[in-house]
């Protein structure tokens, strides 16, 4: 009978309580590692800062020396917060105006390496655009519907030659024009071929 009491633990195993310290450890580690990796790689934050300045300067004039970018911790999640003082909005031709002066980006999981790779990719994308001539040189025009290579059997060759001899002398007529099937008589040649 006392065996039954020992086996009571079995129910705890079947229906374990949801509050586990293992999950808490995982969350804490995730957050602390974001901080650690950013601290160890200040170059990444600098690259990010430079890119942000580039993008935002397109739309508004900002005070570059007073920019403050860092991580903020809120209730178990982490956010990248940037405080960027704006001097004035730029007047663009299509009148894009940004109202937000504070940029908030939620960063849940990243590695410093990935961030650097992304920045490098973006820099490559900003390479100078090529002119239309350059593009045309890269992709030369080709026939839309290239003619399929037909098998040249002797019969087909003969038929082709027959067709050629049969064709009208006026070759400037467009291909798709509909003409009645007329027999242009050149009997002498036919007799020659036969």
């Amino acid at each position: 009978m006392f065996d039954f009491l020992k086996r009571f633990d079995f129910w705890n195993k079947l229906f374990p309580p949801k509050e586990t310290t293992g999950n808490e450890a995982k969350q804490r580690l995730r957050l602390v590692l974001i901080h650690d990796r950013a601290d160890v790689n200040p170059e990444v934050m600098n690259l990010l800062k430079v890119d942000l300045i580039d993008v935002i300067s397109k739309y508004m004039e900002i005070d570059i020396n007073a920019i403050d970018i860092g991580f903020e911790r809120k209730d178990g999640s982490i956010a990248l917060a940037a405080n960027i003082p704006v001097i004035r909005l730029r007047n663009l031709k299509d009148n894009i105006q940004k109202e937000e002066q504070k940029v908030e980006v939620n960063v849940t999981d990243f590695s410093a390496k990935e961030l650097v790779n992304e920045t490098m990719k973006r820099k490559e994308e900003q390479a100078p655009r090529e002119t239309s001539q350059q593009t045309q040189n890269r992709y030369p025009r080709r026939q839309r519907y290239p003619k399929a290579q037909e098998e040249q059997t002797p019969r087909k060759r003969a038929r082709k030659n027959y067709k050629k001899s049969y064709a009208p002398e006026n070759k400037s007529e467009p291909k798709n024009s509909k003409k009645p099937a007329t027999i242009t008589t050149q009997p002498a040649r036919r007799e020659g071929n036969a």
């Binding site: 065996d3 086996r7 586990t20 293992g22 580690l29 602390v32 160890v40 410093a112 390496k113």
Partner: protein
């Protein structure tokens, strides 16, 4: 041409020296020619774990500063393995800066020609000792425990290794307790892998026999009743055959548990 593997962790006490002793012994047992190098200058322990502490004549400092003719004089041959396992001990009375990374690199280059595997025991920390141990290495095995401080330090070490262009990294999770993971009180294997993002080499369970083996000065891999020893044996197999799949034992299904609940156990 041999491979130089450094076993590092960042945090101390996670099981580096034990891992070096066991992996080295395992490789020597299957016939590979292995040299173990204790990189923990000033706090040597590899000789104690291997049970060779009474046979030290020359050490790493003597080799590097040419106080003996060559490294062959300093190497201690382990008699349990037929001419396949050697140990190069660390000096006990010097400090970490007694040896420079460049000297370690040269020594590894020299020893590589004679041995199939060179296994270096890295000291805890990220300073001079770490730089020394990692200088000559081709591959690195990172040891960690499924515990917050160990994983945090392992992450730092991985960052440092990648910065030194050592990209051949693998992970061993040591002192793993299956029951605690099931209860949810310990970080699981997947948690650690997700956080550290390094290929997993093996999982070594917490084992009382490790203490017995270190008391006796015998690597646990030679102990047939040690579960950690068995884990190290499979790790050694994976080092030799890199593509080997993990052998995960099947868990008891729900119905088996119910069956066990209702059957009377006769003691």
């Amino acid at each position: 041409m041999g491979k130089v593997i450094v076993i590092t962790s960042g945090k101390g006490g996670v099981g580096k020296t034990t891992a070096v002793a066991n992996i080295g012994s395992g490789l020597a047992k299957v016939g590979k020619k292995v040299a173990l190098i204790d990189g923990d200058i000033g706090l040597r322990n590899l000789d104690l774990i291997m049970g060779l502490e009474n046979r030290i004549v020359f050490d790493l400092f003597d080799v590097v500063h040419k106080k003996c003719r060559s490294y062959k004089q300093a190497l201690i041959k382990d008699k349990r393995f037929s001419d396949t396992l050697f140990l190069l001990p660390a000096p006990q009375s010097k400090e970490k800066d007694a040896v420079q990374p460049e000297q370690m690199r040269q020594l590894c280059e020299e020893m590589k020609t004679e041995f199939d595997f060179l296994i270096i025991d890295c000291p805890a920390g990220i300073e001079h000792g770490f730089k020394n141990a990692v200088a000559g290495a081709d591959e690195a095995i990172i040891i960690t425990n499924p515990e917050v401080s160990a994983v945090r330090d392992a992450d730092r070490i991985i960052g440092l290794l990648e910065a030194q262009e050592k990209n051949n990294l693998s992970l061993i999770i040591n002192r793993y307790k299956k029951e605690l993971v099931k209860k949810g009180d310990m970080l699981s294997i997947d948690d650690v892998r997700e956080i550290l993002n390094v290929d997993l080499l093996g999982i070594v369970p917490e084992d009382e026999r490790i203490l017995h083996c270190s008391n006796k000065g015998e690597p646990a891999i030679l102990d047939q009743s040690s579960s950690a020893g068995e884990a190290y044996r499979s790790i050694v197999e994976r080092i030799i055959n890199p593509g080997l799949e993990f052998n995960i034992k099947k868990e008891k299904g729900f119905f088996e548990k119910v069956k066990n609940f209702f059957t009377l156990k006769r003691n």
